[in-house]
Symmetry: C2
């Protein structure tokens, strides 16, 4: 049967979070791209694009993210396939990924693009808790990604995806507080985190206006997040490569 | 651009588990459909079909499952989108669902189809731990579904999807033992399960060759499995409707 266009198209988009330093605690933040054509011209949308017939899903997520925002995440995982019939004027099934990028790497990558003259256009960072009305069902998609992140932080070392290689317990607690949107008791937090056995104290301290705070790192042998039998060789998980 | 066929097609398949009563403990079991055409003619495959342009993903999973096996699950959830470039001779992205069906309902549905003369063809049940080589990447898909089930049983009441409304603690323990493929200490299990606060003791007992065992039911207010902000009105979750 001859068709002038496919009945169902497949898109791939990514919700990529970083923790933006802010007064009074860090803020979960994500880049969005302003659409330059209908449908939803002028609205902000998740970075993404059409799946290429010769490309896997993970690769498509990484490629479309890089092409639209210039970013390469340190953690990337498939989230969910959104396929309601009327989420888009034509029928589109979107395979959604979520990702994490350490803020120091965000700065590094932005600086590299600025120096090379390859800074992406139409991209702006938004705090996750103050998004405008996005294109398509992208508000609902971000909600789901936030929910997944909040759940995952409770039983995995996913917080590592938002931290530098070495960090203080206060840094780690701030990540949890930002994700969970609530303050945590420092003593309880320290106890619980030390009980997980995933933190390795280093000999280094951060000095500054407060008393020196010990720097920790994650035990590299512990997986960032249990992935099960899915092996995704083209996922960018730099933290896991150590 | 005129195309004679879409570059990328979208399929939906379901891994549906039941717990088959067996000597020495129950066995996780799933129905497969024998393919009657290439690719992989003659091989067993997961029940599924092509996504219809006018149909949502959850509805497609339920429909293709019903059309090929005659079954209606009591729990249905999206698992993962499998989209490696060479998983199929032509490019197919498969949105995979996993499901649970209580064994008493399996028997009920099979009997209803037999009476109506609508028993499905080419369908056979297999134990999850002794599958033949399946079509496409369906062995890897079943592995991932098993992994998800095993993980989920540890932190949710997903076991309820495999049990009748009222059950003994031994019944519940047997579900966990079958899913986890190991024996559990009955006293420890009782303690842990009672600590979850999700079980309600009834006034009824099961009598038989052993001393009477109290029947329990799940607290209906507790969700079968945390779904987050994704509301899927066409998912069949009879247990959640109570």
């Amino acid at each position: 049967m001859t068709r002038t266009s496919p009945d169902i198209r497949v898109a791939v988009s990514t919700v990529i979070f970083t923790l933006r330093p802010a007064a009074g605690g860090a803020a979960l933040s994500l880049p969005l791209v302003r659409r330059t054509r209908d449908p939803f011209e002028g609205r902000w949308a998740l970075p993404g694009g059409w799946l290429d017939p010769d490309e896997g899903l993970d690769a498509a997520a990484a490629r479309t993210l890089a092409e639209t925002t210039g970013l390469a995440p340190n953690y990337l995982e498939q989230l969910y396939a959104f396929g309601d019939v009327d989420r888009s004027p034509s029928r589109v099934v979107s395979i959604i990924y979520w990702a994490l990028l350490r803020h120091d790497l965000v700065d590094q990558q932005r600086a590299a693009h600025a120096a090379a003259g390859t800074a992406p256009e139409n991209v702006q960072w938004f705090d996750a808790d103050s998004l405008p009305e996005l294109a398509f069902d992208h508000n609902a998609i971000v909600d789901y990604a936030l929910w997944r992140l909040r759940n995952k932080v409770g039983y995995s070392r996913i917080a590592h995806g938002l931290l530098p290689d070495e960090f203080t317990l206060a840094d780690l607690r701030e990540v949890y507080e930002s994700i969970l949107s609530r303050k945590l008791d420092p003593a309880n937090f320290r106890r619980q985190v030390e009980a997980t056995g995933t933190l390795i104290p280093t000999d280094r301290f951060r000095t500054g206006s407060h008393r020196p705070a010990r720097l920790y790192r994650y035990d590299g042998a512990v997986e960032l997040a249990a992935r099960g039998p899915i092996s995704t060789p083209d996922s960018t998980n730099r933290n896991e490569e150590r």
